[in-house]
């Protein structure tokens, strides 16, 4: 059967076994329970999407409980404690387990198809991320079973969330589960950065990249920088709860506001991390229905990039009522106002695109229009809240609840449902119903406004958020009644969407090839997913290749000319491109199905659950087991040095040794995350030092000799790795092991006079030192594995890619050691005494 004569549109899996048996076999998804070993982006992407959808439904059900409780005054449907748990879990599930993962799922599924790659560049990492997300989500959700659901709000403010005010395990479930799930986000960020920059189709320069690629690239960088502050905050809070390190205890020089800073350093960019992929989907879908390319691509790129940066300068506008100096309020108010400029540029670009042609009012288009209408309203109330006096007035009222739902539901949920209608034929080969889709849209649109527009008025009439009930006669009764009825209408829209999503799988109209007449590459193949991507990777000459190159749709997809035809070596491979020009410069060899990511995820899950249960020995054993699994993961043959004919693009090396290779780009992405983690810790140190000067002496002084020794060893390590990056040398590996361990030990030893339990500053310094020492340990383990591989005869002389990557990692580790030494020695030098 060829892909042009599809008779079973809903059938998944290989469809060309007879004509391309080797290719089909190489890319086949394992059957039955062995499908758990699949690392394909299609499988992993769909897992993210389906799991995210389930969390969305659970969180939506919790929202209905909240609204039902508030339908009338003095309601006793839920008691106060349960109400607190319900709204906390609603926010937690929506923000951490639905919004970001499901968008990442779409990105993982769509990006390779749009970019002309056969898979994401690190399929095992993506699979590992999914298992972390799933297990982390289960941990958070399982708190209901133990009657220990978190009840401190989705931002888990201190001191409410400290052991003193929240006994039991509820906050621990939140902290451990959410941190665990966040591993998925940061691993996906690295994978997305490397995939976008390194695996585009031949000729797809950054100027020819689909706009969704730009949106996801900026989003991935934002995740890499934005998530670490919360990871650090969560670890600090958990350490305070379990060990008693007093990071947030004012009596010990700690500060509850430190948590708010760390949380919102993550939390505000997160809003944009949620918005940008959804806006990218809109910017991809809209041109299809207008039949015109996106208006002002360059303006949009500028707006997306500047929004990615400026969104990090707004975090304290969530803290306007905490007593910050007026000048700080003004600073963050100004930044909050200025971010409307890149937002407005994007909105005007979308409106400009609409003006270019006559839009077809298909269901995805309705959701796009809904997005524009609702998100603009949410943006306008955002400008109102950026003004400090109004913010003080509306703070913690239902006005804020209305604003954030206008931004998040308008900016993310409406585009997402539109995206489901648009891309679902890719998943199943069938179209969802236009009729049901329109019902779903109008119910959601009308229900949304009835629910949330009225909340603006409720808030302005003074109703605070997070109250379990309210007395009658305050002017809130009728508004709450209507809001609750509106939420039921909104839920009915979601229900119809879900019914359609399930129904279409069997009775939807079969989708033909490129059913919407789109111009982007993901529609090159028929809508029946063949289980893999490009038989040959075509050269791309424009941003809408299916519009501009009619040959692509004239021929059968699997017969189109391109690079790397078939799988002649029986291996999964894709083209690796130059990050800027998109010209091929290597062949990237990809992994086959494996259970390793699943076992690694299970290892981390066991460690997390054991931590929750207080079984610290089990947790340590699980951590060691996970480390062993990672070592097995790393112990694989190197293919550097092979060269093969790719077809039209000539002979290319496999896994080239280059600074623009995918592994090096991934190392840089990983170092961004590590750098952000380290910067978050340094921020905490300097913040506490600045806010509570009287505790500086209590923290104790570090030993300057050992701190300086650590810095010198760090510099030596960086120099050694840099000089040795061009050749393989076991002796250099062993030297790296010794120097790394020496640097870490010296740094730890320098802190012997500091009691981390005596002051928050001492505790934060200790944690920062341990963080840097851990990276010394990672470098030592990495070097030991490299040496062992050479001793085992697995590495030939030209296979120096690990040396190149290690050199970059060592430079950052060395820099962290120097910064840490300077920070520790500063008091002795009279700088920060």
């Amino acid at each position: 059967m060829t892909d042009a004569t599809i008779t079973e549109p809903h059938e998944q899996g290989p469809i060309l076994e007879e004509r391309h048996p080797t290719y089909e076999e190489v890319w086949a998804t394992p059957k039955g329970w062995r499908k758990l070993s699949s690392v394909s982006h299609r499988v992993v992407g769909k897992r993210f999407i389906v799991t995210g959808l389930i969390f969305f439904l659970i969180a939506g059900f919790l929202a209905l409980l909240v609204r039902t409780q508030l339908i009338v005054p003095n309601n006793t449907f839920l008691d106060a404690e349960t109400y607190n748990q319900v709204f906390t879990m609603h926010g937690t599930l929506m923000m951490f387990l639905f919004a970001i993962p499901i968008l990442e799922g779409f990105a993982v599924y769509l990006l390779p198809l749009m970019l002309g790659a056969r898979d994401m560049v690190f399929p095992r990492l993506g699979a590992f991320g999914y298992w972390c997300y799933l297990f982390g989500g289960i941990i958070v959700l399982s708190s209901f079973l133990f009657d220990a659901a978190p009840d401190g709000g989705w931002f888990m403010y201190t001191p409410l969330s400290t052991r003193e005010y929240t006994e039991g395990l509820s906050a621990d479930f939140w902290l451990i589960g959410v941190t665990f799930a966040e591993i998925a986000s940061v691993t996906a960020a690295v994978e997305i950065i490397a995939t976008i920059l390194c695996t585009r189709a031949p000729g797809m320069s950054l100027t020819k990249m689909p706009i969704f690629g730009w949106y996801m690239l900026v989003t991935a960088f934002m995740i890499a920088i934005g998530f670490p502050p919360l990871i650090i905050g969560s670890l600090l809070l958990e350490a305070e709860r379990v060990i008693g390190l007093p990071f947030f205890d004012p009596a010990m020089g700690g500060d509850p506001l430190l948590w708010q800073h760390l949380f919102w350093l993550f939390g505000h960019p997160e809003v944009y991390i949620i918005f940008l992929p959804a806006a990218g989907m809109v910017a991809t879908m809209l041109p299809t229905f207008v039949r015109q390319p996106l208006f002002s691509y360059g303006f949009v790129v500028a707006a997306v990039v500047t929004m990615g940066f400026i969104s990090f300068g707004l975090w304290a506008h969530h803290m306007f009522s905490t007593g910050l100096p007026t000048i700080s309020l003004s600073l963050f108010s100004a930044a909050s106002t200025v971010v409307t400029i890149p937002t407005g540029v994007q909105i005007f670009a979308l409106i400009g695109t609409l003006a270019l042609g006559r839009a077809q009012l298909k269901v995805p288009m309705l959701f796009i229009l809904g997005f524009l209408f609702i998100f603009v309203m949410g943006g306008l109330t955002g400008v109102m809240l950026a003004a400090v006096p109004f913010n003080w007035q509306a703070h913690d009222s239902y006005f804020v609840v209305a604003h954030l739902h206008y931004v998040l539901i308008g900016g993310m949920v409406f585009p997402l449902i539109g995206a489901f209608y648009y891309w679902t034929p890719h998943f199943t080969g069938r179209m969802m119903s236009e009729r049901l889709g329109k019902w779903a849209f109008w119910l959601m649109f009308s229900g949304f406004h009835i629910t949330f527009f009225l909340m603006h008025i409720t808030g302005l009439r003074g109703m605070p958020r997070r109250i379990a009930t309210y007395p009658e006669g305050l002017g809130w009764d009728r508004l709450n009644m209507l809001s609750t009825l509106g939420s039921y209408i909104f839920a009915a829209g979601i229900l119809i969407f879900m019914l359609d999503f399930i129904r279409h799988r069997w009775t939807g109209t079969p989708a033909g090839r490129d059913p919407w007449g789109a111009g982007t590459l993901e529609w090159l193949y028929p809508a029946v997913a063949p289980g893999h991507n490009f038989h040959a990777i075509p050269r791309v000459t424009s941003r809408e290749p299916l519009w501009d190159d009619p040959r692509l749709l004239e021929a059968e997809a699997h017969e189109i000319d391109g690079s790397l035809r078939g799988a002649p070596r029986g291996r999964r491979e894709t083209i690796g491109c130059h990050p800027v020009t998109g010209e091929p410069h290597q062949i990237i060899r990809l992994p086959h199905p494996t259970f390793i990511p699943l076992w690694a995820g299970v290892g981390v899950a066991v460690a997390a659950v054991a931590l929750l249960a207080g079984a610290y020995l089990v947790a340590a054993a699980a951590a060691v087991a996970t480390l062993v699994i990672f070592c097995i993961w790393a112990w694989e043959p190197s293919f550097t040095g092979e060269t093969h004919n790719s077809g039209p693009d000539g002979v290319l090396p496999v896994n080239a040794v280059s600074r623009v290779s995918h592994t090096h780009v991934a190392i840089v992405g990983t170092l961004l995350i590590i750098g952000s983690l380290f910067a978050s810790l340094c921020f905490a140190v300097l913040y506490l030092w600045n806010v509570w000067p009287s505790f500086t002496t209590t923290a104790g002084l570090a030993d300057p000799i050992f701190a300086a020794a650590a810095a010198v060893l760090g510099l030596g390590l960086a120099v050694l790795c840099e000089l040795g990056k061009a050749r393989t040398n076991v002796l250099a590996d062993m030297l790296c092991v010794l120097i790394s361990l020496g640097a870490g030990a010296a740094l730890l030893w320098s802190m012997q006079a500091t009691d981390p339990l005596a002051s928050a500053l001492g505790a934060t310094l200790t944690v920062t030192v341990v963080f840097v020492a851990i990276h010394c340990g990672i470098l030592a383990l990495w070097s030991a594995i490299m040496g062992a591989r050479k001793l085992a005869g697995q590495v030939s002389a030209e296979q120096t890619l690990p040396e190149l990557n290690r050199a970059t990692y060592a430079k950052v580790t060395g820099a962290m050691l120097v910064i840490m030494a300077l920070l520790l020695c500063a008091p002795q030098l009279g700088v920060l005494s």
């Binding site: 360059g298 500028a302 806010v691 000067p693």
Partner: protein, 106 residues
């Protein structure tokens, strides 16, 4: 129009896009750190000094970020570089404004 896709040209344009945003980042961090140094309990430096420092730093920041505004060319990434420059300059001026307009931490 997608413009010239040679590596040096696209790299130059990418730098033109990234530079203004990075300059805004550095300027914002400086302003935040300076205000924190002056206005937190420790009072590490005086507000007057911070005020002057912010004005002094803002001038080269505006020039560095604004450099991209005058980038010639009509290709999309050149347009992106110009607009990144314009937005970043406005953002830098907004960031500096509170320190310039206010005479104390408040």
């Amino acid at each position: 129009m997608t413009g010239d896709d040679t590596a040096p040209d696209v790299s130059r344009l990418l730098r033109g896009i990234a530079r203004p945003a990075l300059v805004w980042t550095a300027h914002f961090i400086f302003v935040y750190a300076a205000l924190s140094a002056a206005c937190a309990n420790r009072g590490f430096v005086t507000f007057g000094l911070v005020d002057i420092a912010i004005i002094v730093v803002t001038v080269p920041a505006v020039l560095a970020a604004g450099w991209s505004i005058f980038r010639p060319g009509g290709v999309e990434l050149a347009v992106a570089a110009r607009w990144t420059g314009i937005i970043s300059v406005v953002a830098i001026l907004f960031t500096a404004a509170p320190a310039v307009l206010m005479s104390s931490c408040g």
